[in-house]
């Protein structure tokens, strides 16, 4: 299949007070349309750096990133980001937060009624109709994250980028949102890249898991294809040998192959 997002020989070096710091090197990755990719690795391995590169929030020091055949030169609504800490604007209601995005993407072509309809649909998709007119500080962390997802989805992005979207949530809320996200991705066929440090989350959601070596100068260690049929159900999967194998493979990578590097680094 054709590569929709293509990352070619990408490296990222930061200038710090102590000199140059090589965060990423030699990243090569192709992502197919509609694919769900999880980036996993120990903290500090440059998962988020790679995501920011795809988002266009930072530019690579070497190499090139392409999306839909064009070079990624900067951030844009075609590559929507769900931020780790939801990043909703506290002075806007949930509806207004989503509307801001909808208006930006579709405002030029569509009337107000249609824009509002789109916003309402996005909020409905994450099941927050009742909280639409509330301010972010009036709702729970899980709900805020859902608004963040609604905002990203409402733009109908080519690529959905998620930076540990459920990291700050409790296990039950996280499971619920993972299930919702699976349904949404199924329905919208969104190409998704998600940064995570949760092995179960990665196996449950992804088509491929990109495992990264420890930083500094991190790169892709292994790529694991998760050949589990969809729709996936977390309860049935818990006893599925294929699921258990995938899980074991990721754990092995993280805690055997990459464990010692961290000790040296620390």
């Amino acid at each position: 299949m054709e590569k929709f997002v293509s990352i070619e020989k990408v490296g990222q070096t930061f200038d710090t007070k102590k000199g140059k710091f090589v965060a990423l090197r030699d990243i090569d990755l192709g992502i197919k349309q509609g694919e769900f990719i999880a980036l996993i690795g120990h903290s500090g391995c440059g998962k988020s750096t790679l995501l920011n590169l795809i988002a266009g929030l930072t530019r690579p020091t070497t190499g090139v990133l392409l999306c839909d055949g064009r070079e990624i030169a900067g951030p844009g609504p075609e590559r929507a980001v769900v931020f780790q800490n939801h990043s909703l604007l506290p002075w806007l209601t949930c509806f207004e937060n989503v509307y801001l995005a909808v208006e930006r993407v579709f405002g030029a072509k569509e009337g107000k009624a249609k824009l509002k309809e789109r916003t309402a649909a996005a909020i409905n998709l994450v099941g927050l109709d009742h909280a639409s007119s509330k301010y972010p500080h009036e709702i729970s962390g899980g709900m805020k994250q859902r608004v963040g997802i609604a905002r990203a989805l409402s733009m109908q992005p080519k690529v959905l980028l998620m930076d540990e979207p459920f990291g700050a949530l409790d296990a039950l809320t996280r499971a619920k949102l993972q299930d919702e996200l699976m349904k949404i991705c199924e329905a919208t066929k969104a190409t998704t890249v998600m940064v995570t440090h949760d092995v179960d989350e990665a196996v449950l959601l992804s088509d491929r898991i990109v495992m990264m070596t420890n930083g500094p100068a991190a790169t892709i260690g292994e790529i694991l294809e998760v050949k589990l049929p969809r729709p996936r159900d977390r309860l049935t999967l818990a006893h599925d040998p294929a699921y258990i194998d995938c899980r074991a493979a990721v754990l092995e990578f993280l805690y055997e192959k990459q464990a010692h590097v961290e000790k040296i680094a620390a």
Binding site: P75, R79, N85, P90, W91, M155
Partner: protein, 321 residues
Amino acid sequence: MSATTMSGDFGLEQPVDRAPLGGSLAPAGESITSKPVAAVVAEPAKEQKMEKIAAQPSGVAFGEKFNTFLRAVLPPTLGMLVLIGIWYVATHKGGSIPGPVQTWDAAVTLFADPFYRNGPNDQGIGWNILSSLQRVGIGFGFAALVGIPLGFILGRSAFLSAMINPIISLLRPVSPLAWLPIGLLVFKKADPAATYTIFICSIWPMIMNTAQGVQRVPQDYLNVARVLALSEWKVVTKILFPAVLPYMLTGIRLSIGTAWLVIVAAEMLTGGVGIGFWVWDEWNNLKVEHIIIAIFVIGIVGLILEQSLILLAKKLTKESS
């Protein structure tokens, strides 16, 4: 004043079942400071609520409420009483400074007719306060008009900020009164010169706080703006302005505070109508009790300005956070 003392005594003897006193003593608290007034006004409404929620243990709850009310009112009241007491003791043997009683009597006659006009140099205290406030308002308004946009620009551009900051650092410590002669020279009139002095002293906190607020806008919000590729206008109205608003309000509060300090001195030098001029005029008339009244009036007006801006800031930031 005796009523207030009594309230303290009653409270200490019988803190329980004395709640109605809180309401009946309200006038005693009212004449002293603004904070207790708020407490007193709020009290009856809260009492009613308590009654609805729990009829049975309301006696105890009232007692507790009354206790917290006392704790809020008693120390400031006591402080004022001590101040007045020292003042009384220091002046009761006579001398050039009038005592509390004389000052009170003078204040009663003065505030009986605050808005009279007997020519340009003899006007009621109400007119004097109003014209001072008007100068502060105009000078401050212009400062906001210039300072807030300038602060935004300095906050957004590192180059301009590096260019202008040394100038601000150089001029900021200068007493605004040092600018008064230049104002007189340029405007050829006392009134705009005083307003211009207010402008000068108000503008620095406005610029600095706005610029700081712009620099401290969370990167997350700016990343949202970048991902959405919002227009510069949307970035300013939807993200920068609301995020900077609390800082701007701090700047406004500092500006108004300084302006109110400076206007008294400026008016002493320029004359005309105004509370500062009035102080100087009464000094020339050797009406010292009026000077003491003016000190209180200036203090109370300053307090009201400050408190209302704090309230406004609370209200606005509550809505936005």
